[in-house]
Amino acid sequence: MKRDAIMLRPEDNVATALRDLEEGSVAVVGVMEDCREVTMGQTVNYGHKFAVRDIAQGEDVLKYGEVIGRATAAIPTGTHAHVHNIESLRGRGDRKVA
């Protein structure tokens, strides 16, 4: 089956779009040898990520089976996951205690 998006590890909670995915469409998400379907809650462009399950505010965001940041707002399934709702936990000079 042609994949519309890819998850690197089964435990990941975001997938990467391999084409522009329209709101309301059903995306085929490849994960290792398997596929699953996610209904897009929002249009997500090529190369960008979306949640493959509901992610709560404060939850770790996982890609490659590793933590890539923390959700700063709830990210519902099928919606865009990016800088507007994920913060980095590293290189945070703004949080440094003097």
Binding site: V67, L89, G91, G93
Partner: protein, 386 residues
Amino acid sequence: MEFMGYRRSNGSVGTRNYVGVLATVVCANETAASIADKVDGAVSFTHQQGCCQTPVDVDRVTNTLIGLGRNPNLAAVLLVSLGCESTNVARVAEEIRASGKRVETIVVQPTGGYFRTVAEGALLVQDMVMEASQVQRTPCTAADLVLGLKCGSSDTTSGLGPNPALGFATDLTVGHGGSVVLGEVTEFIGAEHILARHAKDEAMGQKIVDLVARMEARAMSAGCDIRGGQPTGGNIKGGLTTIEEKSLGAIAKAGTAPIQAVYEYGEQPTVKGLVVMDSPGREPELLTGLASAGCNVICFTTGLGAPQGFPFVPVIKITGNERTQERLRDHIDLSVSGVIDGTETLPQAGQRIFDEMLRVANGKGTKAELSGYTRAMDIYMIGPVI
């Protein structure tokens, strides 16, 4: 696994055979560039450093120029000095000469200015190129490759296709007895625990973690969130959200070989196999560091399309972004987008990268070389300009 290369008297192998005209200070750039422009077969290295810096950076400039001059892709070297800089020009000449190649020095102030120095320098370089042009390529093997790794203008395709494919090419290079240098320490942040597991032993793993901590502390000393600087605005446009995500994709270039050693910026490895070199992610400083480390070929993956090359080390551009491959054909040497759409496996793509590396080592021109897009160069500094 052979290619024809230029074996130098110290045993190192060049994939190119230029005469290098190296400015020893920013103030000699115009003179060095003009001299190299006058003679076919000469290339210049220019940069923004060499004066009004703390001693640690003066040493850094001196050592990097030594490393560049010793790079086997240079048959001979002309140093172009202004005359009053901080760089230790005598030591640069002496240590490059110790590698067995001809080194000449020309100094602008006593020679009598730009025009006279260009004329005298061009005469010297013409003679050096004449000598160098008589060196023949001889059979070499993949064990003679010193591969530098780089990714730039990354997007989310970088970590899905070209970086892991390059990781396979890294493994092939190491498997054939060659050397591979991994830099871009900023892009280890969030992935250092994985690299540390690849270190040959626990102490080496700790060195990697410490190197990343030093880089992160330096980045954080500006007092702000590094996002926007790392990942860059372009990375973010391409879909990369955090430095952790960028790093996890970037380190895939290193493959699975054990990391044998950790080096300071521009230092030349004394061991074979995969090594880590301190450096930032930005192209001019990183490409210069790899050249100073002795790399004779560089593989550079890109998502959105990075055009940069280096004056005397061929840089092979690899993308996994099918749109970039179409739009930026004048910059992209190899596409591995099949890995992402499922029409090619990672080992197949890795083998293609490795084969292309050998062809380029053998003399095939890269897109950056053929378009003259080869001026991404500067030396990575530690302290302030004073």
